[in-house]
Amino acid sequence: MKKILFLLSLIILMIGCSKDNDDSDESKVSVKFTFSHHWDGQAFTKDHFDLFDYINEYGSTLSMNHLRYLISDIKFIREDGSLLNYEGFPYVLVNIENNLTLENPDAGVIPKGNYKGIIFTFGFKEELNISGAYPDLNSASWNWPEMIGGGYHYMQLEGKYINDIGAEMPFAYHMGPTVDENDVRDNNHFVVTINQNFSVDNTLNVHIQMNLAEWFKNPYTWDLNVYDVNLMMNYEAQKLMQDNGKDVFNASFN
């Protein structure tokens, strides 16, 4: 009996596969994302951890040894300006120490054609930023304390800097939701729009680049002597991060 069921399954599978081959959709291509990081054009990888090679806009010398951040809700801007949701992954927690290339060849495909750019959310939009909702992010200890807004971190950038009196000090540039002096929650995410024309004919490579130096400037020249640690609970610091973050990203497409 088992053999009969096995053979029937095999026949059905072969018919199914054959049918799929006849109906294959060749008008869509896979999208491959690559994430890279630099300091004003100077490449930054985990090999550069702990090196005091960087000077921010304020003039503080600093090193970095930890970087994780969350992007979500990726959309492609079609030629006519309409938006196409990217279904490959609803969010990604980028960790500079891990594999920085992502692709979902099954669900992460888009139609061939001409596009005008890409949009994504840094962090989660409010309706998605639900405490404990994502097991993989929980498992990565990515949660943001309930007492300061709940949900998830958007970024952890950590390192050390030399303060104004020459002492080595730590900094923990952690971004996420925030709560004002009246205990009103502000989700504090931002949306990144990168406008660039590109055509899609084969696999699309999307290379997202973060300029780490931009977190410390434009519009606010970040003074680590003022804002170095305990920034998660600091409403003003969180809003300054949101402002500075808007120029951090760029992307290329090929």
Binding site: D50, G159, M169, P170
Partner: protein, 347 residues
């Protein structure tokens, strides 16, 4: 199709071996908040494998002189530690690091084990203690030979793995299967998280606030939170114990001097049973641990930026906050885990 038919014909007398599947019993709080456990495809959990692994774990047959088992340094009543600063091996020699507790290891997604991350699977980790002269001081050929000549073990290996021919890989696989069953998730704080408001004291509830507050304990960045009930991030940190290092920790494995002095952040579960604390067991009490983070931090070049008040020596907790924090930490201890009959010596 005809080829497959003939291949699968029972008349050849071939029957594929399969042990009895025995998936881990995943607690509700882990089901709710965590990704699935890591089970290697070449070592699925089986009834026979776990049974064999448990027998081996508690059997001193693995040691050269038949006096020391895994359980000698990993005792169930101490949440699988041994209560000593350093364990003593069969040669009467002291080890160099504190015995680590064993629980929830199947949820270590980073797959780096030991205080220094030197093992990349549970199976791999098991090889070291058997041959370490400071521990069981044996050789694997000797272990295999001893087990092969035993009146019972070859039959158990056949039930678990389909062969009576024992090798070190199968020994390690069996013990790893048992270790993966060591799941702890029923502490008073777990029950509080699952809705029992009376499961913990008011002090413990306030202690959780101390734990989660960035400007008080700020413990959560390394030691988990209510949505990560592993109570560890399973990564490596220099938590300000020493100015210079006799034990390089992660740095001794990676070779990167910037990793010197970094050790795995342990889970905070079952602290009521796992004293002394830290990789070298230097702190006998939780009070000493809390004092360290509050006032006792020591600067070194690789100190973690999360030790943010290093200039002041630590987070400067009030005596009240220290008391609350201790109450919370103790509420993560799980009596059912240390008394679970499935985890006791079967011999």
């Amino acid at each position: 199709m005809l080829f497959l038919w003939s291949c699968s014909s029972k008349d050849d007398g071939y029957e594929e071996f399969s042990a009895t599947p025995n998936p881990l019993k995943i607690p509700e709080i882990f089901q709710t908040y965590l990704s699935p456990p890591v089970i290697p495809v070449d070592n699925p959990q089986t009834v026979e494998g776990v049974e064999l692994g448990r027998m081996l774990f508690f059997d001193p047959i693995l040691s050269l002189d038949n006096t020391q088992a895994c359980a000698s340094c990993h005792q169930p009543q101490k949440a699988f530690t041994d209560g000593m600063q350093f364990s003593i091996g069969i040669a009467g020699l002291e080890g160099t690091r504190n015995s680590m507790p064993l629980h929830n290891l199947a949820w270590n997604y980073a797959q780096k084990f030991n205080w220094d991350g030197s093992a990349v699977t549970i199976e791999q980790q098991l090889f070291g203690p058997v041959t370490n002269p400071l521990e069981m001081n044996n050789t694997w050929p000797n272990v295999v030979s001893t087990l092969q000549g035993h009146s019972v073990y070859p039959g158990l290996f056949e039930k678990a793995f389909g062969t009576k021919n024992i090798d070190s890989a199968l020994v390690s696989k069996a013990i790893a299967q048992f270790i993966r069953t060591l799941i702890s998730a029923d502490s008073p704080f777990d029950r509080y998280l699952m809705g029992d408001e009376n499961a913990i004291s008011a002090e413990a509830k306030e202690g959780f606030n101390v734990f989660m507050s960035e400007n008080r304990g700020d413990c959560f960045h390394c030691h988990g939170n209510s949505f990560n009930p592993l109570w560890t991030d399973n990564t490596f940190h220099n938590n300000g114990l020493d100015e210079t290092f006799q034990d390089l920790g992660l740095g001794g494995v990676s070779g990167d001097p910037f990793d010197n002095g970094k050790f795995k952040a342990p889970s905070l579960r079952n602290l009521a049973y796992t004293a002394p604390y830290m990789h070298d067991g230097r702190f006998e009490t939780l009070d000493e641990v809390i004092h360290h983070y509050s006032e006792g931090l020591v600067y070194s070049e690789t100190i973690d930026p999360l030790m943010k008040y290093i200039a002041q020596g630590g987070v400067q907790l009030s005596n009240e906050d220290k008391m609350y924090l201790k109450a919370f930490l103790l509420s993560l201890s799980d009596p059912d885990f240390v008394n679970n009959p499935d985890f006791q010596n079967p011999h």
